[in-house]
């Protein structure tokens, strides 16, 4: 028998065998119908419970990034509009929301959750149209997660006395909330739900390129009969955000976006006593040890970097793989990369949709160029890309050095930098060698190692033998330059309350 066993021993020479996926990427189209999506040609600002024409008299278009067609146009709020919205929120805070019984407040939030569930299909389609993400993701993740978030925090409204031992909570006032374009409705939920549950009122500004689901949420809020002014949703660009941040009646600012803008907010709010929550950038290390469940790890890496086209602040954009399994892992990753279906975000089979904007695509392309210049080896799926719209092939870089910019800077796209390591200490040092600290992944079969790694990795979320998992009960937020404050769970209440001695 031994002789026979010898014949099937793995060959010493590293092979480059590849699987073939040509036909895999060509399932017959399975397009989600857009008939369920009701998008108006023009949207005004949602202030004091009504849609109101902007004082600026200006509107700007929002387009479908997968074909560059205009979907609608939305109002551009100027400083006067912001002022109007904040005043409405202050008024609602002082006259209604602050005084309302907590359990009634909670019931309004429950209502919002329910209506989101009822309108899930429409919201999913609009999210995909406006943002370019695959319908599978908006349908299976974004929208249900948004509803769940409202549902979770609704229940907290009348239980705040139990949240912080020996302390009572007090609401803060008007929260100015600025959210990014990668998870438009979900981020709105992450911001609005805890703010309302804790008794604050809100002025929310969705991202310039993805305002539509937030405006649909405004309609839902109307339908839920929330008292006017408790939630105000104003659209606009950077200038609108600046006006919101600087408004003197804003008592609390919650921002999710780039570290660059986060730092500007820190500077401009200095000396104002505004409470801050910042959810900023990341460059997550995803670490695979040789004893890991490799196929699940590969899947986790794929999900970690290609979920939402890699436009995720906690994306696992740095892969550290132990040298002894690096060849195998890279071989598997390359094959898996090729089986990903890139194309029309409305197709239910699409894995990778469109990049959110031309600007973001240019940023990604800049980094692809930098990566090549730095001497890293680029590997991309041979898939065809649509002619119109903003597209990027799923890409990985091998031969990456720790010092390379593609391993240091946040790309915010479907681009993975692969590095290798030999020892635990080495990988910890490399993983923590970053100004960011939002999330990290560890893959190993050894329980004791997981706890050790989890403790030593400087990041707010550690995914062990999994990646990119989210839940309303689970606090999310970063260490270091990834920001501060937590969203989700019990810990997500703290940024929206003042603690009072009881």
């Amino acid at each position: 028998m031994d002789k026979k066993m010898q014949t099937v021993l793995p060959k010493k020479k590293k092979n480059t065998l590849k699987l073939k996926f040509e036909t895999t990427r060509s399932y017959a189209p399975a397009l989600e119908s857009t008939s369920a999506a009701n998008i108006k040609p023009q949207y005004d600002l949602f202030i004091n419970g009504k849609f109101e024409a902007p004082l600026s008299k200006k509107y700007f278009p929002t387009i479908n990034p997968s074909n560059e067609e205009k979907l609608s146009e939305v109002a551009e709020a100027n400083a006067a509009d912001v002022d109007k919205a904040v005043k409405a929120a202050t008024n609602a805070y002082e006259k209604v929301w602050k005084k309302m019984a907590a359990k009634e407040r909670g019931k309004y939030i429950f209502r919002i959750a329910r209506i989101i569930q009822e309108k899930a299909r429409e919201l999913a389609i609009i999210e995909t149209l406006d943002g370019g993400k695959p319908i599978r993701e908006s349908r299976d993740f974004d929208i249900p997660a948004a509803a769940n978030h409202f549902f979770y925090y609704a229940g907290w409204a009348d239980k705040l006395d139990y949240a912080f031992p020996n302390k009572r909570t007090e609401s803060i006032g008007v929260a100015g909330q600025i959210i990014p374009w990668n998870f438009p409705l979900l981020m709105a939920a992450w911001k609005i739900a805890p703010a309302l549950a804790t008794g604050n009122t809100v002025v929310l500004k969705p991202a310039e390129t993805t305002p539509l689901t937030a405006l649909k949420l405004a309609e839902i809020i109307q339908e839920a009969d929330l008292p006017p002014g408790v939630v105000n949703i104003i659209t606009g660009g950077g200038a609108t955000g600046v006006a919101l941040v600087n408004h003197p009646e804003i008592k609390k600012i919650a921002f999710t976006g780039s570290t660059e803008v986060g730092k500007i907010i820190l500077q401009t709010t200095a000396g104002t006593n505004k409470k801050l929550t910042l959810e900023l950038g990341g460059k997550a290390a995803n670490i695979i040890f040789e004893d890991a469940p490799l196929d699940e790890a590969v899947e986790g890496v794929i999900n970690g970097i290609f979920f939402n086209q890699g436009q995720v602040c906690c994306a696992g954009s740095r892969l550290y793989v132990q040298e002894s399994v690096a060849h195998t892992v890279i071989q598997k990753l390359k094959d898996r990369l090729e089986s990903l279906i890139v194309g029309n975000p409305l197709d239910k089979n699409t894995d990778i949709g469109a990049i959110n904007s031309r600007q973001q695509l240019q940023t990604i392309q800049k980094y692809l160029k930098i990566g090549k210049q730095e001497g890293a080896e680029l590997y991309e799926s041979p898939c065809a890309l649509p002619k119109k719209g903003f597209w990027c092939r799923p890409t990985l870089f091998t031969n990456v050095a720790q010092s390379n910019r593609i391993a240091q800077e946040e790309i915010f796209g479907p681009v993975l930098a692969i590095l290798t390591f030999r020892t635990d200490d080495e990988v910890i040092e490399k993983a923590n060698n970053s100004p960011y600290g939002l999330s990290a992944g560890v893959w190993t079969d050894k329980g004791s190692k997981i706890f050790n790694m989890s403790k030593r990795l400087k990041a707010g979320v550690i995914w062990a033998n999994t990646f990119n998992k989210f839940d309303p009960t689970s606090p999310f937020g970063g260490f270091k330059e990834s920001g501060f404050g937590r969203e989700g769970g019990l810990h997500g209440l703290l940024p929206y309350v003042n603690l009072i001695n009881s």
Partner: protein, 306 residues
């Protein structure tokens, strides 16, 4: 590695990667999210028919039943022109001769279970004899069962040697190795058994006898497909896969095909490398094909049961 005892000989040099069941199940469920429509669906249904090992493995199997099965294998639905045939029929050794005669000239293969199917609780020499008998009777393929008792006792080397011995006894016939995954308990064990079987000479690895629950599931099949993929990466040798038991609906069969396609790629998408062990799947596929053709949902009453 250099001081391995006999038991550990095999795994002294071959270590199976661990499997995380939650991640595995997540991945398996992703395949079910694929929306298979229009021509892709029809192609998939045709392919499914062509991959079926039409099976009867009952104590009460009779000559008549087997003949009928063989007829069905060749004439799935005569009113629908251009349908493929099934890949093989799968019977007990005693029925091979009857099937052989009934299927003469059809191109449909004959698979026979052997080695004390389904429990495998017979002496090894009986297993060898039974295998030789099946091949002599005309079986093109032999579906053996592994010794689960030995496997669970950690006697991996015994299991390895037994498979290799049966492979020898098969001669030119292709060997399918049934792991009986429902008795192995964990995904890690299933992965290990897959590795042992392939390294010992299996041409196919197969989930189940159909006599034990749970039989084939998508996660279990995925573990085995991943083992096949790794074996291919390591050796360049393709191994076939056969989930058996529990796949009776065409929708589920299409999910399996998506899984094979996206795990192993186009090369495995034929009955040389993938089979369904099933008895009632064929009719459901036929009903679906009819539905695609006529636009109407179908009734089982219009499709003969065997």
């Amino acid at each position: 590695m250099f001081f391995m005892n006999d038991k550990d000989k095999f795994f002294g040099f071959l270590k199976s990667p661990s499997v995380d069941q939650v991640g595995l199940e997540e991945r398996a469920s992703r395949f079910t999210k694929r929306s298979i429509k229009k021509e892709t669906k029809l192609n998939g249904l045709f392919l499914t028919l062509n991959m079926i090992d039409l099976t009867t493995l009952e104590g009460k199997d009779s000559e008549g039943k087997v003949k009928q099965l063989c007829y069905k294998a060749q004439h799935l639905h005569d009113t629908y022109p251009g349908l493929p045939t099934v890949a093989a029929i799968c019977v007990y050794p005693a029925m091979i001769r009857i099937a052989k005669k009934a299927l003469a000239g059809s191109g449909i293969k004959i698979a026979s279970v052997a080695t004390g199917f389904p429990s495998g609780q017979v002496p090894q020499k009986v297993k060898i004899k039974e295998t030789r008998f099946a091949v002599a009777e005309g079986a093109d393929e032999v579906d053996m069962v592994i010794s689960r008792g030995k496997f669970l006792a950690g006697e991996y080397n015994y299991v390895f040697d037994e498979i290799a011995t049966i492979k020898d006894a098969c001669g030119a016939a292709r060997l399918k190795v049934i792991l009986e995954t429902g008795e192995l308990g964990t995904m890690d064990k299933i992965r290990r058994a897959s590795d042992i079987a392939m390294h010992a000479g299996a041409d196919f690895i197969k989930t189940s006898t159909g006599k034990i629950q749970p039989a084939a599931t998508m996660p279990v099949t995925l573990v085995m497909l991943e083992a096949i993929r790794d074996f291919y990466y390591q050796t360049g040798k393709m191994i076939g896969m056969k989930p058996a038991g529990g796949i009776s609906k065409s929708k589920l069969a299409l999910h399996y095909l998506v899984m094979v396609k996206e795990t192993l790629g186009d090369a495995w998408m034929n009955n040389e490398w993938f089979r369904f062990g099933a008895s009632s799947l064929a009719n459901d596929v036929l009903m679906q094909i009819e539905k695609e053709r006529t636009g109407n949902y179908q009734s089982g009453n219009y499709f003969s049961i065997d």
